[in-house]
Protein backbone atom coordinates (compact mmCIF):
# COMPACT_ATOMS: atom_id res chain seq x y z
CA UNK A 1 0.00 0.00 0.00
CA UNK A 2 2.42 2.68 -1.17
CA UNK A 3 -0.12 4.85 -2.91
CA UNK A 4 0.91 8.33 -4.00
CA UNK A 5 -0.98 11.23 -2.50
CA UNK A 6 -0.48 14.57 -4.21
CA UNK A 7 -0.41 17.48 -1.80
CA UNK A 8 -0.57 20.88 -3.42
CA UNK A 9 0.91 23.45 -1.09
CA UNK A 10 3.82 23.12 1.31
CA UNK A 11 2.61 25.33 4.10
CA UNK A 12 1.49 24.26 7.54
CA UNK A 13 -1.49 22.27 6.25
CA UNK A 14 0.45 20.55 3.47
CA UNK A 15 3.41 19.64 5.64
CA UNK A 16 1.32 18.33 8.52
CA UNK A 17 -0.91 16.31 6.16
CA UNK A 18 2.19 14.84 4.52
CA UNK A 19 3.67 13.92 7.90
CA UNK A 20 0.56 12.08 8.97
CA UNK A 21 0.03 10.36 5.60
CA UNK A 22 3.59 9.12 5.63
CA UNK A 23 3.09 7.68 9.11
CA UNK A 24 0.01 5.91 7.78
CA UNK A 25 2.16 4.17 5.19
CA UNK A 26 1.13 6.24 2.20
CA UNK A 27 3.45 8.21 -0.07
CA UNK A 28 2.72 11.91 0.10
CA UNK A 29 4.24 14.17 -2.53
CA UNK A 30 4.33 17.88 -1.83
CA UNK A 31 4.27 20.36 -4.70
CA UNK A 32 5.20 23.83 -3.52
CA UNK A 33 5.32 26.81 -5.85
CA UNK A 34 7.78 28.84 -3.79
CA UNK A 35 11.42 28.08 -3.16
CA UNK A 36 10.94 26.57 0.28
CA UNK A 37 8.45 24.86 2.50
CA UNK A 38 6.72 26.57 5.38
CA UNK A 39 4.25 28.89 3.76
CA UNK A 40 3.19 32.11 5.47
CA UNK A 41 3.96 30.85 8.92
CA UNK A 42 7.66 30.57 8.09
CA UNK A 43 7.66 34.36 7.66
CA UNK A 44 6.16 34.82 11.11
CA UNK A 45 8.13 35.80 14.17
CA UNK A 46 6.04 34.75 17.14
CA UNK A 47 2.66 33.12 17.52
CA UNK A 48 -0.34 34.21 19.54
CA UNK A 49 -1.48 33.92 22.24
CA UNK A 50 1.66 33.08 24.18
CA UNK A 51 4.38 34.61 21.98
CA UNK A 52 5.77 31.21 21.09
CA UNK A 53 8.50 31.47 18.41
CA UNK A 54 7.05 30.42 15.07
CA UNK A 55 10.41 29.01 14.09
CA UNK A 56 10.09 26.31 16.73
CA UNK A 57 6.93 24.98 15.20
CA UNK A 58 8.05 25.39 11.61
CA UNK A 59 11.37 23.66 12.29
CA UNK A 60 9.59 20.71 13.86
CA UNK A 61 7.28 20.47 10.88
CA UNK A 62 10.15 20.72 8.43
CA UNK A 63 12.00 18.02 10.30
CA UNK A 64 9.00 15.73 10.08
CA UNK A 65 8.73 16.08 6.31
CA UNK A 66 12.41 15.81 5.50
CA UNK A 67 11.87 12.36 3.94
CA UNK A 68 8.75 13.38 2.05
CA UNK A 69 9.18 13.75 -1.68
CA UNK A 70 8.93 17.46 -2.31
CA UNK A 71 8.95 19.60 -5.42
CA UNK A 72 9.93 23.21 -4.80
CA UNK A 73 9.52 26.09 -7.23
CA UNK A 74 6.97 23.88 -8.93
CA UNK A 75 3.32 24.32 -9.78
CA UNK A 76 0.74 21.90 -11.00
CA UNK A 77 -0.14 23.05 -14.48
CA UNK A 78 -2.68 20.41 -15.43
CA UNK A 79 -4.54 17.59 -13.77
CA UNK A 80 -6.65 14.75 -15.12
CA UNK A 81 -8.67 12.09 -13.38
CA UNK A 82 -9.38 8.62 -14.63
CA UNK A 83 -10.18 5.25 -13.10
CA UNK A 84 -6.60 4.91 -11.86
CA UNK A 85 -6.69 8.17 -10.03
CA UNK A 86 -5.17 11.55 -10.73
CA UNK A 87 -2.45 12.49 -13.19
CA UNK A 88 -0.87 15.82 -12.59
CA UNK A 89 1.47 17.64 -14.91
CA UNK A 90 4.00 19.81 -13.16
CA UNK A 91 5.62 22.99 -14.37
CA UNK A 92 8.92 21.08 -14.65
CA UNK A 93 7.15 18.75 -17.11
CA UNK A 94 7.21 15.81 -14.75
CA UNK A 95 4.03 13.86 -14.25
CA UNK A 96 2.73 12.59 -10.94
CA UNK A 97 0.19 9.82 -10.64
CA UNK A 98 -1.70 9.89 -7.38
CA UNK A 99 -4.66 8.14 -5.86
CA UNK A 100 -5.84 11.23 -4.09
CA UNK A 101 -5.18 14.95 -4.07
CA UNK A 102 -5.00 17.22 -1.04
CA UNK A 103 -5.44 20.89 -1.74
CA UNK A 104 -3.57 22.78 0.95
CA UNK A 105 -3.04 25.95 -0.98
CA UNK A 106 -3.69 28.32 1.88
CA UNK A 107 -4.34 32.01 1.59
CA UNK A 108 -3.17 35.26 0.13
CA UNK A 109 -2.88 38.37 2.22
CA UNK A 110 -5.43 41.02 1.30
CA UNK A 111 -3.84 43.71 -0.83
CA UNK A 112 -4.04 46.67 1.50
CA UNK A 113 -3.94 49.24 -1.29
CA UNK A 114 -7.42 48.14 -2.26
CA UNK A 115 -8.71 49.82 0.85
CA UNK A 116 -7.87 53.18 -0.65
CA UNK A 117 -8.97 55.40 2.20
CA UNK A 118 -6.22 53.91 4.38
CA UNK A 119 -3.59 55.12 1.93
CA UNK A 120 -1.38 52.05 1.93
CA UNK A 121 1.20 52.52 -0.79
CA UNK A 122 0.45 56.24 -0.79
CA UNK A 123 1.24 57.45 2.70
CA UNK A 124 4.70 56.42 3.76
CA UNK A 125 3.96 55.26 7.26
CA UNK A 126 1.05 52.96 6.58
CA UNK A 127 2.12 49.34 6.75
CA UNK A 128 0.54 45.90 6.93
CA UNK A 129 0.57 43.39 9.75
CA UNK A 130 2.73 41.11 7.61
CA UNK A 131 5.32 43.83 7.23
CA UNK A 132 5.25 44.53 10.94
CA UNK A 133 5.83 40.86 11.65
CA UNK A 134 8.80 41.00 9.31
CA UNK A 135 10.07 43.92 11.35
CA UNK A 136 9.82 41.84 14.50
CA UNK A 137 11.78 39.09 12.79
CA UNK A 138 14.48 41.22 11.19
CA UNK A 139 14.41 44.39 13.28
CA UNK A 140 14.43 46.41 10.08
CA UNK A 141 11.80 48.60 8.50
CA UNK A 142 12.40 52.11 7.23
CA UNK A 143 8.92 53.19 8.32
CA UNK A 144 9.49 52.31 11.95
CA UNK A 145 11.68 55.04 13.27
CA UNK A 146 11.26 55.20 17.02
CA UNK A 147 7.53 55.86 16.75
CA UNK A 148 5.71 57.54 19.61
CA UNK A 149 2.19 56.63 18.56
CA UNK A 150 1.18 53.52 16.73
CA UNK A 151 -2.27 52.50 15.58
CA UNK A 152 -3.67 49.18 14.46
CA UNK A 153 -6.71 48.94 12.22
CA UNK A 154 -8.69 45.73 12.41
CA UNK A 155 -10.79 44.19 9.65
CA UNK A 156 -8.84 45.56 6.71
CA UNK A 157 -10.25 43.63 3.81
CA UNK A 158 -12.68 41.80 6.04
CA UNK A 159 -16.29 42.37 6.96
CA UNK A 160 -16.46 44.86 4.14
CA UNK A 161 -18.72 44.66 1.12
CA UNK A 162 -16.80 47.50 -0.46
CA UNK A 163 -13.91 45.10 -1.08
CA UNK A 164 -16.27 42.15 -1.56
CA UNK A 165 -15.09 40.36 1.57
CA UNK A 166 -17.98 40.06 3.97
CA UNK A 167 -16.42 37.36 6.14
CA UNK A 168 -14.45 37.72 9.35
CA UNK A 169 -10.82 36.79 8.89
CA UNK A 170 -10.70 35.21 12.33
CA UNK A 171 -7.05 35.56 13.28
CA UNK A 172 -6.47 39.30 12.83
CA UNK A 173 -7.92 40.38 16.18
CA UNK A 174 -5.61 38.15 18.15
CA UNK A 175 -2.70 38.97 15.89
CA UNK A 176 -3.31 42.69 16.34
CA UNK A 177 -3.23 42.39 20.11
CA UNK A 178 -0.14 40.21 19.96
CA UNK A 179 1.63 42.71 17.75
CA UNK A 180 0.42 45.60 19.86
CA UNK A 181 2.08 44.02 22.89
CA UNK A 182 5.21 43.29 20.94
CA UNK A 183 5.59 46.80 19.64
CA UNK A 184 5.17 48.10 23.18
CA UNK A 185 7.98 45.78 24.17
CA UNK A 186 10.20 47.21 21.46
CA UNK A 187 9.17 50.82 22.11
CA UNK A 188 8.12 51.02 25.76
CA UNK A 189 7.48 54.76 25.53
CA UNK A 190 5.15 54.49 22.58
CA UNK A 191 1.41 54.74 22.88
CA UNK A 192 -0.40 51.96 21.07
CA UNK A 193 -4.00 52.09 19.91
CA UNK A 194 -6.11 49.46 18.25
CA UNK A 195 -9.26 50.30 16.34
CA UNK A 196 -11.59 47.33 16.42
CA UNK A 197 -15.25 46.62 15.78
CA UNK A 198 -15.46 43.43 17.79
CA UNK A 199 -12.56 41.73 19.50
CA UNK A 200 -13.02 38.11 18.62
CA UNK A 201 -10.94 36.28 21.17
CA UNK A 202 -12.23 32.85 20.33
CA UNK A 203 -9.49 30.52 21.49
CA UNK A 204 -7.85 29.25 24.65
CA UNK A 205 -5.68 31.91 26.24
CA UNK A 206 -6.80 34.55 23.78
CA UNK A 207 -8.96 36.41 26.26
CA UNK A 208 -6.03 36.34 28.66
CA UNK A 209 -3.95 37.91 25.94
CA UNK A 210 -6.57 40.63 25.64
CA UNK A 211 -6.51 41.22 29.37
CA UNK A 212 -2.74 41.37 29.32
CA UNK A 213 -2.82 43.76 26.39
CA UNK A 214 -5.01 46.10 28.37
CA UNK A 215 -3.49 45.71 31.78
CA UNK A 216 0.19 44.97 31.36
CA UNK A 217 0.87 46.59 28.02
CA UNK A 218 -1.51 49.51 28.40
CA UNK A 219 -2.66 49.19 24.81
CA UNK A 220 -5.69 51.39 24.24
CA UNK A 221 -8.45 49.60 22.41
CA UNK A 222 -10.90 51.94 20.75
CA UNK A 223 -14.09 50.53 19.32
CA UNK A 224 -14.59 52.05 15.90
CA UNK A 225 -13.50 51.41 12.39
CA UNK A 226 -10.92 53.84 11.06
CA UNK A 227 -12.69 55.83 8.41
CA UNK A 228 -9.94 57.64 6.62
CA UNK A 229 -6.25 58.33 6.82
CA UNK A 230 -4.40 61.34 5.55
CA UNK A 231 -0.91 62.70 5.86
CA UNK A 232 0.01 65.96 7.51
CA UNK A 233 2.88 68.35 6.78
CA UNK A 234 5.35 66.25 8.78
CA UNK A 235 4.40 63.00 7.10
CA UNK A 236 2.50 61.83 10.18
CA UNK A 237 -0.83 60.15 9.73
CA UNK A 238 -4.07 61.79 10.69
CA UNK A 239 -6.81 59.26 11.24
CA UNK A 240 -10.51 59.67 11.78
CA UNK A 241 -12.81 57.17 13.43
CA UNK A 242 -15.81 57.22 15.63
CA UNK A 243 -15.30 56.13 19.18
CA UNK A 244 -18.53 54.19 18.95
CA UNK A 245 -18.65 53.42 22.65
CA UNK A 246 -18.41 57.11 23.36
CA UNK A 247 -20.56 58.08 20.41
CA UNK A 248 -18.31 60.82 19.16
CA UNK A 249 -16.06 61.24 16.17
CA UNK A 250 -12.40 61.07 17.04
CA UNK A 251 -9.28 62.34 15.40
CA UNK A 252 -5.67 61.59 16.15
CA UNK A 253 -2.19 61.77 14.71
CA UNK A 254 -0.06 58.63 14.51
CA UNK A 255 3.49 57.86 13.51
CA UNK A 256 2.76 54.42 12.16
CA UNK A 257 -0.48 52.78 11.17
CA UNK A 258 -0.62 49.01 10.88
CA UNK A 259 -3.36 47.49 8.76
CA UNK A 260 -4.53 44.07 9.93
CA UNK A 261 -4.98 42.57 6.50
CA UNK A 262 -7.42 39.75 6.09
CA UNK A 263 -6.86 36.37 4.49
CA UNK A 264 -8.18 35.87 1.00
CA UNK A 265 -8.15 32.66 -0.91
CA UNK A 266 -4.91 31.93 -2.74
CA UNK A 267 -6.07 32.48 -6.29
CA UNK A 268 -3.05 30.94 -7.99
CA UNK A 269 -4.77 27.58 -7.69
CA UNK A 270 -7.94 28.72 -9.47
CA UNK A 271 -7.19 27.02 -12.79
CA UNK A 272 -6.44 23.62 -11.26
CA UNK A 273 -9.41 23.98 -8.91
CA UNK A 274 -11.64 24.63 -11.90
CA UNK A 275 -10.24 21.57 -13.69
CA UNK A 276 -11.14 19.50 -10.64
CA UNK A 277 -14.60 20.98 -10.70
CA UNK A 278 -14.48 22.43 -7.21
CA UNK A 279 -16.49 25.58 -6.71
CA UNK A 280 -15.85 28.51 -4.41
CA UNK A 281 -18.12 29.31 -1.52
CA UNK A 282 -19.75 32.70 -1.02
CA UNK A 283 -16.62 34.02 0.65
CA UNK A 284 -14.51 33.06 -2.35
CA UNK A 285 -12.76 30.22 -0.57
CA UNK A 286 -12.93 26.58 -1.68
CA UNK A 287 -16.25 24.91 -1.14
CA UNK A 288 -15.94 21.81 0.99
CA UNK A 289 -18.66 19.21 1.38
CA UNK A 290 -20.02 20.66 4.55
CA UNK A 291 -18.79 22.40 7.64
CA UNK A 292 -19.07 19.40 9.91
CA UNK A 293 -18.31 15.79 9.05
CA UNK A 294 -17.45 16.58 5.47
CA UNK A 295 -15.13 19.48 6.15
CA UNK A 296 -12.19 17.90 4.30
CA UNK A 297 -14.19 16.52 1.42
CA UNK A 298 -15.07 18.24 -1.85
CA UNK A 299 -17.53 17.70 -4.64
CA UNK A 300 -14.79 15.76 -6.45
CA UNK A 301 -14.22 12.21 -5.21
CA UNK A 302 -10.58 11.83 -4.16
CA UNK A 303 -9.90 15.53 -3.79
CA UNK A 304 -9.54 16.78 -0.27
CA UNK A 305 -9.03 20.19 1.24
CA UNK A 306 -7.38 21.41 4.41
CA UNK A 307 -6.29 24.66 5.97
CA UNK A 308 -6.84 28.25 4.99
CA UNK A 309 -7.93 27.42 1.46
CA UNK A 310 -11.35 26.68 2.97
CA UNK A 311 -11.63 29.65 5.25
CA UNK A 312 -9.40 31.97 7.30
CA UNK A 313 -7.85 29.90 10.02
CA UNK A 314 -5.33 29.92 12.84
CA UNK A 315 -2.28 27.67 12.90
CA UNK A 316 -3.68 25.20 15.47
CA UNK A 317 -6.90 24.91 13.48
CA UNK A 318 -4.91 24.32 10.33
CA UNK A 319 -2.82 21.61 11.93
CA UNK A 320 -5.95 19.96 13.24
CA UNK A 321 -7.52 20.04 9.83
CA UNK A 322 -4.35 18.68 8.22
CA UNK A 323 -4.42 15.74 10.59
CA UNK A 324 -8.07 15.15 9.91
CA UNK A 325 -7.52 15.27 6.15
CA UNK A 326 -4.89 12.59 6.48
CA UNK A 327 -7.43 10.31 8.15
CA UNK A 328 -9.94 11.04 5.42
CA UNK A 329 -7.42 10.26 2.70
CA UNK A 330 -6.39 7.06 4.46
CA UNK A 331 -10.01 5.94 4.70
CA UNK A 332 -10.54 6.87 1.08
CA UNK A 333 -7.59 4.79 -0.08
CA UNK A 334 -8.77 1.82 2.03
CA UNK A 335 -12.43 2.09 1.26
Amino acid sequence: MKENILIIGGGAAGMEAATQLQKMGLTPIIVEKSEKLGGHIAQWDRLFPAFHPAKDVVDQMLNQVKDVKTYLNTEVTDIQKDNNGFHALLSNNETIDAKAVVLATGFDVFKAERKQEYGYGIYNNVMTSVELERFFKTGKDARINNPKKIGFVHCVGARDVKVCNTYCSKVCCTTALKQACEIREVFPDAEVYTFYMDLRMFGPGYEDLYLKTQKDFDVKCIRGRVCEVSEDMDGRLVIKAEDTLFGKPLKMTLDVLVLMCSMEKNKSIDAIQAKLGIANNSDGFMQNKDMYLGMNGTSQDGVFVAGACIAPKSLPDTIGEARSVATQVFNYINR
Binding site: D243, P249, M252
Partner: protein, 103 residues
Protein backbone atom coordinates in the same frame (compact mmCIF):
# COMPACT_ATOMS: atom_id res chain seq x y z
CA UNK B 1 -21.19 92.82 11.04
CA UNK B 2 -23.83 90.47 12.38
CA UNK B 3 -24.42 87.69 9.91
CA UNK B 4 -26.99 85.94 12.10
CA UNK B 5 -24.81 82.86 12.67
CA UNK B 6 -21.31 81.96 13.78
CA UNK B 7 -18.69 79.20 13.77
CA UNK B 8 -19.63 76.06 15.70
CA UNK B 9 -17.13 74.31 17.94
CA UNK B 10 -15.89 70.93 16.74
CA UNK B 11 -17.12 67.88 18.63
CA UNK B 12 -14.20 65.74 17.52
CA UNK B 13 -12.35 64.05 20.32
CA UNK B 14 -8.88 65.38 19.72
CA UNK B 15 -6.79 62.52 20.97
CA UNK B 16 -3.57 64.42 20.32
CA UNK B 17 -4.34 66.95 22.99
CA UNK B 18 -6.41 65.03 25.53
CA UNK B 19 -5.29 65.61 29.10
CA UNK B 20 -4.98 62.22 30.77
CA UNK B 21 -3.68 63.38 34.13
CA UNK B 22 -6.66 62.19 36.12
CA UNK B 23 -6.96 58.92 34.25
CA UNK B 24 -3.28 58.16 34.70
CA UNK B 25 -3.47 59.00 38.39
CA UNK B 26 -6.35 56.58 38.75
CA UNK B 27 -4.48 53.97 36.79
CA UNK B 28 -1.65 54.02 39.30
CA UNK B 29 -3.88 53.00 42.17
CA UNK B 30 -6.37 50.99 40.11
CA UNK B 31 -4.53 49.14 37.35
CA UNK B 32 -7.76 47.31 36.57
CA UNK B 33 -9.15 50.50 35.11
CA UNK B 34 -7.62 49.57 31.76
CA UNK B 35 -9.43 46.29 31.55
CA UNK B 36 -12.93 47.62 30.94
CA UNK B 37 -14.52 45.91 27.97
CA UNK B 38 -17.45 48.30 27.83
CA UNK B 39 -19.94 45.48 28.30
CA UNK B 40 -22.32 47.91 29.97
CA UNK B 41 -23.18 45.73 32.97
CA UNK B 42 -22.39 48.60 35.29
CA UNK B 43 -24.71 50.91 33.40
CA UNK B 44 -27.50 48.38 33.21
CA UNK B 45 -27.52 47.70 36.92
CA UNK B 46 -26.90 51.24 38.12
CA UNK B 47 -29.43 52.41 40.68
CA UNK B 48 -28.86 56.05 39.74
CA UNK B 49 -28.79 55.08 36.07
CA UNK B 50 -32.43 54.13 36.42
CA UNK B 51 -33.22 57.81 36.73
CA UNK B 52 -30.27 59.57 35.10
CA UNK B 53 -27.62 59.22 32.40
CA UNK B 54 -25.19 57.76 34.92
CA UNK B 55 -23.00 55.19 33.22
CA UNK B 56 -19.64 54.17 34.58
CA UNK B 57 -18.30 52.72 31.35
CA UNK B 58 -19.05 56.01 29.68
CA UNK B 59 -17.55 57.91 32.54
CA UNK B 60 -14.28 56.02 32.08
CA UNK B 61 -14.32 56.99 28.42
CA UNK B 62 -15.01 60.61 29.31
CA UNK B 63 -11.84 60.64 31.36
CA UNK B 64 -9.91 59.22 28.43
CA UNK B 65 -11.42 61.55 25.87
CA UNK B 66 -10.87 64.87 27.52
CA UNK B 67 -14.30 65.29 29.07
CA UNK B 68 -13.26 65.29 32.69
CA UNK B 69 -15.76 67.99 33.58
CA UNK B 70 -18.61 65.91 32.23
CA UNK B 71 -17.30 62.90 34.10
CA UNK B 72 -17.24 64.79 37.35
CA UNK B 73 -20.73 66.00 36.71
CA UNK B 74 -21.87 62.47 36.10
CA UNK B 75 -20.34 61.21 39.34
CA UNK B 76 -22.59 63.60 41.22
CA UNK B 77 -25.42 61.22 40.43
CA UNK B 78 -23.78 58.18 41.97
CA UNK B 79 -25.27 56.72 45.14
CA UNK B 80 -22.20 54.55 45.78
CA UNK B 81 -24.46 51.52 46.24
CA UNK B 82 -21.82 49.27 44.72
CA UNK B 83 -24.00 47.16 42.46
CA UNK B 84 -21.74 47.99 39.53
CA UNK B 85 -18.74 46.52 41.32
CA UNK B 86 -20.67 43.34 41.96
CA UNK B 87 -21.64 42.82 38.35
CA UNK B 88 -18.41 43.83 36.61
CA UNK B 89 -17.16 40.78 34.68
CA UNK B 90 -13.60 42.10 34.79
CA UNK B 91 -13.73 42.50 38.55
CA UNK B 92 -12.97 46.20 38.41
CA UNK B 93 -13.38 47.86 41.79
CA UNK B 94 -15.65 50.50 40.33
CA UNK B 95 -16.77 52.08 43.57
CA UNK B 96 -13.21 52.71 44.60
CA UNK B 97 -12.43 54.32 41.27
CA UNK B 98 -15.47 56.54 41.59
CA UNK B 99 -14.32 57.64 45.01
CA UNK B 100 -10.74 58.09 43.84
CA UNK B 101 -11.79 60.33 40.96
CA UNK B 102 -13.30 62.68 43.42
CA UNK B 103 -10.19 63.00 45.53
Amino acid sequence: MDFGFCLSPSSHVKMDSVDLTTFNRLKETNPDINTCIACGSCTATCTAGNFTEMSFRRLLLMLQRGKEDEAKKMIQRCMLCGKCTLVCPRGINIRKILLDITR
